[in-house]
Amino acid sequence: MSIDISQFHQTFFEESLEGLDIMESGLLSLDCGTVDTETINAIFRAAHSIKGGSATFGFTQVAEFTHAMETLLDEMREGKRQVTQESVEVLLRAVDCLREMIAAQRDGGSMDEQLAAQVQGEMEALLGKTGGDDPIDVSGNTSGTPAEADKACRTWLIDFRPHPDLLQTGNDPALLFRELATMGDLEVEVDDAALPPFPEFDAEQCHLKWRLKLTTTAGEDAIREIFEWVEDVCDLEITALSPSPPADAGPHEIRTDPPGQEPPFEGPGEGPGKAQRPPAAKKPRPTESGSIRVSIDKIDHLINMVGELVITQSMMGNLDGGFEDFDINRLEQLREGLALLERNTRELQESVMRIRMLPISFVFSRFPRMVHDLSQKLGKKINLVLSGEQTELDKTVMEKIGDPLVHLIRNAIDHGIEPPEQRIAAGKPETGTVHLNAYHKGGNIVIEINDDGAGFNKEKILAKARERGLVEKDAQLSDDRIYDLIFQPGFSTADTVSDVSGRGVGMDVVRRNIRELGGNIEISSREGEGTTFTIRLPLTLAILDGQLVRIGSETFIVPLVSIVESLQIRAENVNSIAGRTEVYKLRDEYIPVLRTHDIFQVEGGPAHIEDGLLVVIEGDGHKAGLLVDDLLGQQQVVIKSLETNFQRVCGISGATILGDGTVALILDVEGLVQLSRRPADEGPGPRQRAVA
C-alpha cells in the first residue's frame, strides 16, 4: 500500500501555525511571572506535535529546529529548568522563526536560513551544548535488520515462558507465533505442565510455556523484535542451533535492551541519509485557498433554517387549489404563509451571514506579542487587557481592520502611556494599561482602544494645527474638531520621531481604512487620564443600511452611514463659483452641490433647485450635497458588485435589487465627494447643465 502523504500537508501547516499561536500566547503569559504548569504543558504539547508532524511528513529542517525547542520546554515542564526571561525571549524568537519556516514550506518560498541557524544556536547554548551531538530521529530508524551478509538459513531455539499476566497487556502468544511463522519454518511445542487443576484455573492468566523452533534467514535481532512488546512479561531465551553462527551466538537474555536498539521500523523511502530526501519546499505549492472554519452549531442552525423553509414552502403549496374555490380563508392562510416565509428568509440570511463571522480574537491574538515587544523596546511597563474576544465579525472586515488596530495600539503605547518615572511622578501606577474591547451594538461592532496614559494635549494639537495653517489663528474649536485634526494627513504631535510611530503617517490612513469599511472612528480623551478610540464597523460588507432616494425617475441608494443630514434647499443659500461650480451655504461652511441628474444622466430633475432636497454626505473627510428629488424609505440592501458583472462606474459602488424587482444603484460616497472637489469641467458627466 502506498499513500501520498503530501495530501496531509495542508492540515499539518494549518495546525502547526495554530500551535505556534498557542505557544506564543503561552510564552507571553509565562513572561508575566505566573509559572503555570498547564501553560508550560500546552506550549510543550504544541512544540511536540509540530516536531512529530514535521518528522512524519518529511520536513526535516522543521523537525530538527523544533527538537531543540522541545528539549528546552521539556526541561521546564519537568522542573529541571528555570523559566527565565532570557529563555522565554529565545523561545519567542524561535516561534517566529518556525512560523517563517512553515510558511516557506507551504508557499514554496525560502526563508532566512542564517536567522534560523542563529536562533537554533541560541537555544542550544541555553541547553548547554555545542549542538550537533544529539541527532534526532527524523528519518526512520535503521536498526533491527541484521547485516545483509547474514543470509544463511539458521535454526533458532526459542524458549518462551510468559508470565501469568502477559494477557493483561493485550498481547496474545498466538499472534506472536503467527508473526514468527512469516519469517520462516516454525515448529511450536507447548508445555502445559504448569496448568493448574480445573477448579483453580483462571482463564485470564497465562499458564502455558512454549518451545519454538524457527528456521529462518533472519537474524536474532529480528526475532527479538517480535517479542519486543512482551519482553518484560516473559522469560525469553533464544539459542542458535545450526549451522553454527559466528561468535556472538549463545543464549541471550532479552531483558536488557542492547544499546541503540530502537524499534526497528524501516519503510520504503526512509533511507538512512535524511539529507538526501527531496526537500518538500522545492515543489511549488498551490497558494492557500481561502477557507474558513465554521463551527458545527452554525451549520446545524443553517440546516434547521432550511428545514423550516421547506415546511413553509409545503404549507404554501397546499394552498394551491386553483382559483375557482379561492376564498377569504385561503387568503388569510396565504398571508400567514408569507409572514412565515419572510421570517424564515430573514433568519436564513442571518445564519448564512454568521458563517462568514469569526471571533475577533483572530485579530486580537497578535497584540499581546506586539505589546510585549514594544514595551521592552520603549522601556515602558504595560499591561494589555483584552475583552470581548468572542465578538464576531465578518472575515473580510476582520482582515482589513488588523492594520488600523496595530497602528492605534502602537500609538497608545508610544505616545499614550508615559515612561514609568513620569507615571509615578503623576501619581499613577507604574504599569500602564491598554484595554482592547469589542462588543456588538445595534448592527455594528464596536472596538475600543483605551489607554490610561497622558491623553491628548489640546493646546499642543491646536498650536501644531495653527503652525501648519490647518486652523485660523484665533478660531475657537470644539473638542471634537480639535481631535479631528489628528486625522489630517501628516499631522503628528509627538515631540520626537521614533521608529515605532510618530511620523504622522498613519492616522489619516487609519481613518480612511475604517471609512472604506463603512465605519467610523471617534476619540475621547482627558489630559493626564488617557485616551479612548472608538471604532464602529458594520458587521458585514455584504449588507448595508441604505437611504433610498429618487433622482428623476430612478431610485438610488445612499449608504446611511455617510449621510450627515438632509435638508430643504433655500435658493438664497446657493451660490456658484466662477459661474460653474455650485456651492451651498450650510450654516458656516460652503459645500459643493452635486447635480445627480447630470452625473447619472437621468431625465427629469427639479425645475428649480429649491424644489429638490439636499442630502449632505461626508466621505474622505469632506462634505458634499447631493441634489435629489425625494427621500424614499430606509432599508437594508444586499450589495451586488457591479465590477464582477459589468465594469467599474465612477460614482457607483454597486447595485441591489429592490423588493419590486427593480435594480437600484448604490452611490459611492467617496467617489462622489472626490468628484465634487474637482473643477466642474473635468467631471465625467457629458452634459454639464447651466445653473438652473
Partner: protein
C-alpha cells in the same frame, strides 16, 4: 476488517492514521484527546486503540490506564504512538497496560505492518 479507535490531538496525524487504516479496510473512529476517546470507548467496543501520548485534558498513559479498568477493554490491544523513544515513556505506557508502541515518525506502511501484529 477491524474497528479501530485513533486518538491524537494533532489533526494531520489523525488524518493520516485514519486514511491509512481505512485504506487497509478498517473502520476508524477518531478522538482528539483522552477524555473524548474514553467517552467513545464506553459507547462502543473497538478491536484496537491507537493513541498518542501527549494530549490535552487526558494524556495517552492515563487513557490506557482508564481503558484497562473497563471490562470491555481488559484484553483489547492498545498501541501508543509516541515521538519519545525514551524508555521511561514506554515503561509508563506498559505499566498502564499498553500492548505495544509505534515510534514517530512512521509512515502508513509501517503503521499497517504494526497493527497486523496485534489484530487477531
Amino acid at each position: 476488517m477491524a474497528s479501530i479507535l485513533a486518538v491524537d490531538d494533532s489533526a494531520s496525524m489523525r488524518q493520516m492514521v485514519t486514511f491509512a487504516l481505512q485504506k487497509a479496510g478498517h473502520e476508524v473512529v477518531e478522538a482528539a484527546d483522552g477524555e473524548q476517546a474514553l467517552a467513545l470507548a464506553k459507547t462502543r467496543k473497538v478491536n484496537l486503540v491507537i493513541t498518542d501520548v501527549n494530549m490535552p485534558k487526558m494524556d495517552g498513559i492515563t487513557l490506557i490506564r482508564e481503558l484497562r479498568t473497563l471490562p470491555d477493554y481488559r484484553f483489547t490491544p492498545i498501541l501508543m504512538l509516541t515521538t519519545e523513544s525514551a524508555p521511561e515513556k514506554k515503561q509508563q505506557g506498559k505499566a498502564a497496560g499498553a500492548t505495544g508502541w509505534l515510534v514517530k515518525p512512521f509512515n502508513p506502511d509501517q503503521l499497517i505492518a504494526t497493527i497486523s501484529k496485534v489484530l487477531g
